[in-house]
Amino acid sequence: MPENKRGVGAHYLNRVVHCLLAFGYCLLLLLACSNTDAKFQQYYVQGEQLYIKHCSNCHQKSGKGLGLLYPPLGPSDYMEKNFDDVLCQMKYGKKGFLSVNGKDFNQPMPGVRSLTELEIAEVATYIYNTWGHDRGMVEVVEVTTAVEKCSP
C-alpha cells in the first residue's frame, strides 16, 4: 500500500515538473522571439538614421536616386543580386559601370570608411527591408565575411 501511494505521489510530481519545464521552455522561446524582433527593430531604426546621414543626399530619402546619375535602391535588381558587393561598397565605394533595372550608371560612389561593421549591418538591414526589399535581418557576421574579401 505505502509503495503504491509513493508511486502515485512520484508520478504526480513527475507530471508537475514536466509541465513546469515545458512552460519554462515556451517562455524562453517567446522571449527569444521578441528579442529577435527587438533586435531587428533596433538595427532598422539605427540603419535609417545612418542612411539619412550618409546616403540620402545622393540616393534620396525615397531611395529613388537621381536620373542616371545616382542609382535607385528601391526597386533594385542589382541590390538583390549583389549582396556582398553592396556591403563592400558602403565602406569602400564603387568606381566604374554598373547596371540597375536595365539602366547604366557610371558615377563614382565614395565609400564611408568610418562605418563600423555594426553600422554597415544596420544600414543594410534598413535598405534591404524597405522599398520592396524583404531580406530580413542582416547580421554583423555577414558584413565581416563580405568586407574581409574586398578590403583593398
Partner: protein, 218 residues
C-alpha cells in the same frame, strides 16, 4: 415709414456698398502691388537721377555642347545660377536634385533658364559635363553646364554672384563652395539668393520666379 424700410432702403444702401467695395479692391491691388516686387541685391550708385544697380559682369564660357555661352545667351531671360563640380559628394547632389525640381517646374517657361558653373574646370571637361547633363536628363538649351578658365569662374562667382568658390585642400572634396542659388533678372541683376540644399528655400525660389515673371507681364 414702412416704405423706407422696404424697397427704398435697398436702393439707398446699394450705391454705398458698391463704392466701398471698389475702394477696397483698389486698396488691395495697391497693397499687393507693393508686396510683389523682389529686392535688388548688391551695391547701387546714383547716376544723376538714375540708380545704377549691381549687375552680373560679362562672361564667356563653354557649355556641355561646346557652345560658347555669354550674357547674350541669357538676353531677355530670367535665370538661376549656381556653382558646383561633378565629383562633389557633399552638397552638390542635393543642389542638383533641387535644380532638377526647378527645371521641371519651369519646363514650360521659355523665359527661364539655368546656368551651372563648374569650379573644377580641369576635371570637368566639356565631355564630362555633357555626360553629367545627359544623366540628369535635362536639355542643354534650357540648362547650361559651363566650364572655362578657373580664374574667370572664381572671379565671377565671388564678385558678380557673391557666391564662395575656391580650392581648399583641407575640405573633404577639395573645394570650399556655397550651395547658393542666385536668381537673375533680365537686366542681369540679382533678385534673390537661396540655399540650394534646403527644399523650403528652393520652394521660395520657385515662388519668386513666378513673382519675377509677373514683373515682366508673363
Amino acid at each position: 415709414m414702412k416704405l423706407f424700410w422696404g424697397r427704398q432702403r435697398s436702393l439707398y444702401c446699394l450705391p454705398i456698398a458698391i463704392r466701398m467695395f471698389t475702394v477696397y479692391c483698389l486698396l488691395l491691388s495697391a497693397c499687393r502691388g507693393k508686396e510683389e516686387k523682389l529686392p535688388i541685391f548688391g551695391e547701387r550708385t546714383a547716376n544723376g537721377t538714375d540708380t545704377v544697380f549691381h549687375t552680373i559682369a560679362p562672361f564667356r564660357f563653354v557649355d556641355q555642347d561646346s557652345a560658347i555661352i555669354t550674357n547674350e545667351s541669357f538676353g531677355g531671360k530670367i535665370y538661376v545660377a549656381d556653382f558646383f563640380f561633378t565629383t562633389c559628394r557633399t552638397i552638390c547632389p542635393i543642389m542638383k536634385t533641387q535644380l532638377v525640381r526647378v527645371y521641371e517646374a519651369t519646363r514650360d517657361m521659355p523665359d527661364v533658364m539655368i546656368l551651372s558653373h563648374t569650379i573644377d574646370p580641369e576635371y570637368d571637361t566639356v565631355a564630362l559635363l555633357h555626360d553629367f547633363a545627359r544623366r540628369l536628363g535635362v536639355e542643354s538649351k534650357k540648362w547650361h553646364f559651363v566650364t572655362g578658365l578657373r580664374d574667370s569662374i572664381y572671379k565671377i562667382a565671388q564678385t558678380s554672384y557673391f557666391a564662395t568658390a575656391m580650392k581648399d585642400q583641407t575640405e573633404p572634396d577639395g573645394f570650399i563652395h556655397s550651395g547658393a542659388f542666385l536668381l537673375i533678372d533680365k537686366a542681369r541683376r540679382i533678385r534673390g539668393k537661396y540655399d540650394g540644399t534646403k527644399e523650403e528655400d528652393v520652394n521660395r525660389l520657385m515662388s519668386d520666379i513666378n513673382t519675377l515673371r509677373k514683373e515682366y507681364g508673363e
